[in-house]
């Protein structure tokens, strides 16, 4: 078992080889398995032609692995020190995208960085977790109970959420807020504060609905009754459910998915990749994929419980929740359980931005694991 291995020396002078030894390679193997599922699915999405999507996916994953392992070797204390700098950089990028971002699907979401298009909102979530973890990691229980102490981190959450809403991208804004809330929760913010916030949200929701964009409202109404407009906004959900349902227990077989290959399934290589898997490999394939993704999330929790410093714990839980939300929102979306939103299934979906940010996150997670016994300084009042 990987967790039996212990870092011999707790000081920051541990050698690279020693750190590499402490990287949990079974987790890396798990990641590779998930990426392989993505490779197969993208091969199918490209009608068996690897050049369409699958090859790029493999190359990106390779880069992602290198990035992840590099970050894993960076001392967690160094990461903690620059947490807020990263946060500010991500906010700056978000602001930049609002001013100069490329228009994609009616929203300003992308920044063109030459070879890759960066979606700053993805990066933002990681940086937000980092910043919040660093804010809370030395705070005692009493201190966390102090409402004044919570104002700066709350603003740190609201600022990017507001910017993402402005894009506009309701789904990602909500996910970002939820990731932030997860760190608040894990840090020990009193539960009644969450209850109060939830109550406030319930009151505010109807007012917010009024202010939503038409396409956002359409998503909600189609979610409530997808058959109401089968050729319009409900088309994606209906076709996705048909594809899923027709997969049955064992699926139609690799490259045999009619819904996907006859293009009834929209965006099968990105948002609806899970549907593609479920159609061709059935419930068995879908649950296997889901189980692998669940193991990834579970690993985040294991890292959190193993960490001897609060920074690591909060970071691991935040990153785990982030990845969990990707998976949950995406799969719930394609099964028609929640309104459709453009949320990819990282490591499986085609697309560089989500993949790289997720790998960056896992790099931080591994760094937490490798440096789980590091001294992070004293607790503060």
């Amino acid at each position: 078992m990987i967790f039996e291995r212990r870092l011999l020396s707790r000081d920051r002078g541990a050698g690279v080889l020693e750190k590499l030894w402490h990287i949990p390679w079974s987790f890396v193997l798990l990641l590779c398995a998930v990426a392989a599922v993505g490779y197969v699915a993208l091969l199918s999405a490209g009608s068996g032609n690897p050049e369409a999507y699958a090859q790029k996916h493999a190359i990106r994953f390779g880069f992602g692995l290198v990035l992840m392992l590099s970050i894993a070797l960076v001392d967690i204390r160094l990461i903690a020190r620059f947490a807020w700098l990263g946060y500010l950089a991500a906010v700056a990028l978000l602001a930049l995208v609002l001013l100069h971002g490329n228009i994609g699907k009616g929203a300003q979401r992308w920044i063109d960085l030459g070879p890759v298009q960066l979606q700053p909102s993805e990066l933002m979530k990681i940086m937000l977790v980092l910043a919040l973890a660093s804010w809370f990691h030395r705070a005692s229980w009493e201190r966390v109970g102090n409402p004044l102490f919570l104002i700066p981190p709350a603003l740190a959450v609201l600022l990017p959420v507001g910017l993402i809403l402005k894009q506009p991208n309701l789904g990602t804004a909500l996910i970002t807020a939820m990731v932030g809330a997860a760190v608040f929760w894990a840090a020990g913010v009193r539960w009644w504060k969450f209850a109060g916030l939830a109550g406030l949200a319930a009151i505010a929701a109807p007012i917010a609905y009024e202010r939503l964009h038409d396409y956002q409202r359409a998503r909600i109404t189609t979610f409530l009754d997808p058959e109401s407009d089968p050729l319009g906004a409900g088309y994606n959900i209906i076709q996705s459910k048909i594809a899923l349902g027709s997969g049955g227990l064992w699926g139609k077989g690799f490259l045999q998915g009619t819904q996907g290959h006859l293009n009834f399934l929209p965006e099968k290589q990105t948002d609806f990749i899970f549907t593609m898997i479920a159609e061709e490999f059935g419930l068995v394939g879908a649950l296997t994929t889901l189980a692998l993704l669940m193991l990834l999330v579970a690993f985040c929790y294991l890292v959190a419980f193993r960490s001897r410093h609060q920074f690591g714990r909060l970071l691991a839980v935040g990153l785990g929740t982030n990845y969990f939300l990707y998976v949950f929102v995406n799969v719930a979306m394609v099964t028609g359980s929640i309104p459709v939103g453009g949320v990819p299934l990282p490591l499986i979906s085609h697309g560089g931005s989500a993949m790289l940010t997720v790998m960056l996150g896992f790099g931080l997670l591994l760094s937490v694991h490798v440096h789980r016994d590091a001294e992070m300084g004293p607790m503060r009042e």
């Binding site: 027709s246 049955g248 929740t321 969990f324 359980s337």
Partner: protein
């Protein structure tokens, strides 16, 4: 607890406090993280159950939906069967034509697209009305034909302007073509786009540009001609493009229908007749219709593109009723051509013997009425034969009075008058031979005076030229031949082409022989149609003239000296002639009705002779002996 270095706890206490505090924080974190983890685990379980529900519980339903998505069944129309004349000449065929189609759902604005189209290919108002009606009636993805029979130039202009014509495409279809045009219109009928009332279970009717028979043989044999739609199951992608063919079931092409009509003969007869004239020529032996000519007529090809409102008004408003087949739907009093029926009824009822003499003084008095003979001077003593030859009215007044109307009507019905002849022409009238019961059903009494008038074929009769021809054929053969137009379907002959296919009428041969001899005498023995003898090489024709008043001639007019030729044309009597030939071996039975022709012997009989000569020349040339050529077999 917070560490305060100035308190007594000191450094040791500080370390302990920090560790305790750390332990507490870690405990809280563990509980909170565990709760979060459980929530997330629950969420995964929810997703799993959702997948189970979709893929297993509702899997079958979604599998069906996926199949429906994927598979699209399309119909394709088989070629419509042709209609041939007895010699195999095509009288209704198919011609390839390029047509413009519009799929309504592929254009954002149907009206604007039509407007653009009509600037390239002008559309008449009635065409536009039809297009709009079809777009309304059909589902939006069903192509609607905008215009058939496009010229190369029109096609080129459509193709060039394709970007401005969303949803419009050009494809190749077939169009019905009638080479005989007006000459056979009433027999062959025509096709037109199916109306709502035509909609039946046949999926073919949904195809764009499909035509169904609307009149004549086209309508009667519509199902045979139409064939059965073929289906092809194709796999389509989301935008409807065909990926591959999964299954194909060939349709059954429409079968060819061969008619007994001789198109050339029909044309020749129509060239001889004038507006208002009808001639029906049957093969006397089996009832096959050889020609059924009437004027005026219409061009059935016009129905292909759709008939304009103006054209339709012109056709329906015309007094000459070009759309109506007067052979089957024109109703006339038979006049003296009916006298054979009265004679047979009298013989069968044994109210007279053939040799019995009736004296004709030029009129007959009954009650307070005087019934005139056409010969004011009177014919003198008449027996049955001479009465038919001279068409003596008084003789038949007397016979009718003796037999009574009901027995006359029964005999008329046996000869095909006033009954449904089941000809393959939808809408054909059965006509009317009045009976006492019929009159009483109208709440009017039937008097013997009525019977007397009906004895010479005047009165309430409504007789079609077709049924007069049938009567003549039955007189000539003694068999209950039925008129029919169909000789073969799909190359297989239909029953009815042999005389033996038809039962005997059950009239004593001696009676029939007497009538036939009288009819022979009408033409060849110094009777009313003596001027219309056939040239000897064709044998001899037997016949009977008829002249029916369309207006009552008043006593005043009669006494002033009545000259029909001074009357306006539409007041002049109709001229009728029925005939069969050759007398000794009947091949042809013919009826001719010349509206306002004034006199049967003057107008109808000479025309009948010309038609007979034409028939002999075309179907039974004298050198080959006395047989109808079976060229069509």
């Amino acid at each position: 607890m917070i560490w305060r270095p100035w308190t007594r706890s000191g450094v040791l206490g500080r370390e302990r406090t920090v560790r305790k505090e750390e332990e507490r924080r870690r405990g809280i974190f563990t509980r909170r993280a565990a709760a979060l983890g459980v929530v997330q685990l629950g969420a995964f379980a929810f997703l799993g159950s959702r997948l189970y529900r979709l893929q297993i519980e509702e899997g079958a339903r979604y599998a069906t939906l996926a199949e429906e998505n994927r598979v699209s069944a399309r119909l394709f129309a088989p070629p419509r069967g042709r209609i041939l004349d007895r010699n195999g000449k095509v009288v209704a065929g198919n011609r390839l034509n390029w047509r413009a189609l519009l799929v309504a759902e592929q254009t954002a604005d149907v009206a604007a697209t039509l407007e653009t189209f009509s600037r390239i290919v002008p559309l008449a108002d009635h065409e536009r009305a039809r297009i709009e009606r079809e777009i309304r009636r059909n589902r939006r993805f069903v192509p609607v034909v905008l215009r058939e029979a496009l010229t190369w130039e029109e096609m080129a202009r459509i193709e060039v302007n394709a970007p401005d014509l969303p949803g419009i495409s050009v494809d190749m279809g077939t169009t019905r073509i009638y080479p005989e045009a007006e000459d056979l219109a009433h027999v062959v009928g025509y096709v037109a786009a199916p109306a709502e009332r035509d909609a039946d279970d046949d999926p073919l009717l949904q195809l764009p540009g499909i035509r169904v028979g609307r009149a004549g043989v086209e309508r009667h044999h519509d199902r045979i001609l139409r064939g059965r739609a073929g289906t092809v199951e194709v796999e389509v992608n989301a935008v409807g493009r065909v990926i591959r063919e999964l299954d194909r079931r060939e349709g059954i092409p429409g079968q060819d229908v061969q008619l007994s009509v001789d198109a050339g003969l029909q044309k020749a007869i129509r060239a001889k007749i004038q507006d208002g004239t009808t001639a029906v020529l049957l093969d006397a032996r089996n009832g096959e219709v050889l020609a059924m000519a009437t004027k005026p007529s219409f061009d059935p090809n016009i129905f292909n593109a759709g008939v304009s409102a103006a054209q339709w008004r012109q056709w329906t408003a015309a007094r000459s009723t070009p759309l109506i087949n007067k052979a089957t739907n024109g109703l006339y009093a038979p006049g003296s051509t009916f006298k054979m029926i009265v004679a047979l009824a009298a013989l069968e009822a044994r109210v007279c013997r053939p040799g019995d003499i009736v004296h004709c003084p030029g009129h007959m008095d009954f009650g307070n009425n005087r019934f005139h003979c056409h010969n004011r001077a009177g014919h003198g003593g008449m027996n049955m034969r001479t009465a038919i030859m001279a068409s003596c009215d008084v003789y038949f007044y007397e016979m009718a009075k003796r037999v009574g109307m009901d027995r006359i009507a029964a005999m008329a019905n046996r000869f095909g008058l006033g009954v449904d002849l089941e000809i393959e022409l939808p809408g054909a009238r059965r006509g009317l031979v009045p009976t006492r019961a019929w009159r009483q059903a109208q709440g009017k009494p039937w008097s013997i005076g009525d019977t007397i008038v009906h004895g010479i074929g005047q009165g309430f009769y409504q007789i079609t030229p077709l049924s007069l021809a049938v009567m003549t054929a039955r007189l000539a053969t003694g068999r209950a031949v039925q008129p029919h137009l169909t000789r073969a379907i799909g190359g297989r002959p239909v029953r009815g082409s042999q005389p033996e296919d038809w039962p005997s009428l059950g009239i004593p041969e001696a009676d029939l022989r007497l009538i036939r001899e009288a009819m022979w005498g009408v033409v060849n023995g110094g009777g009313t149609a003596g001027a219309s003898r056939l040239p000897p090489q064709y044998g001899q024709m037997a016949g009977k003239t008829g002249t029916t008043q369309v207006r009552r001639v008043s006593r005043e007019q009669r006494e002033r000296g009545f000259n029909v030729n001074a009357l306006p044309r539409e007041w002049r009597p109709h001229a009728l002639f029925v005939a069969y030939a050759p007398h000794d071996n009947p091949l042809f039975a013919l009826s001719v009705v010349v509206e306002h022709g004034t006199s049967g012997s003057g107008a109808a009989a000479p025309l009948a002779r010309d038609i007979m000569i034409e028939a002999f020349q075309r179907l039974a040339p004298p050198r080959q002996g006395q047989r109808v050529a079976d060229a069509g077999r």
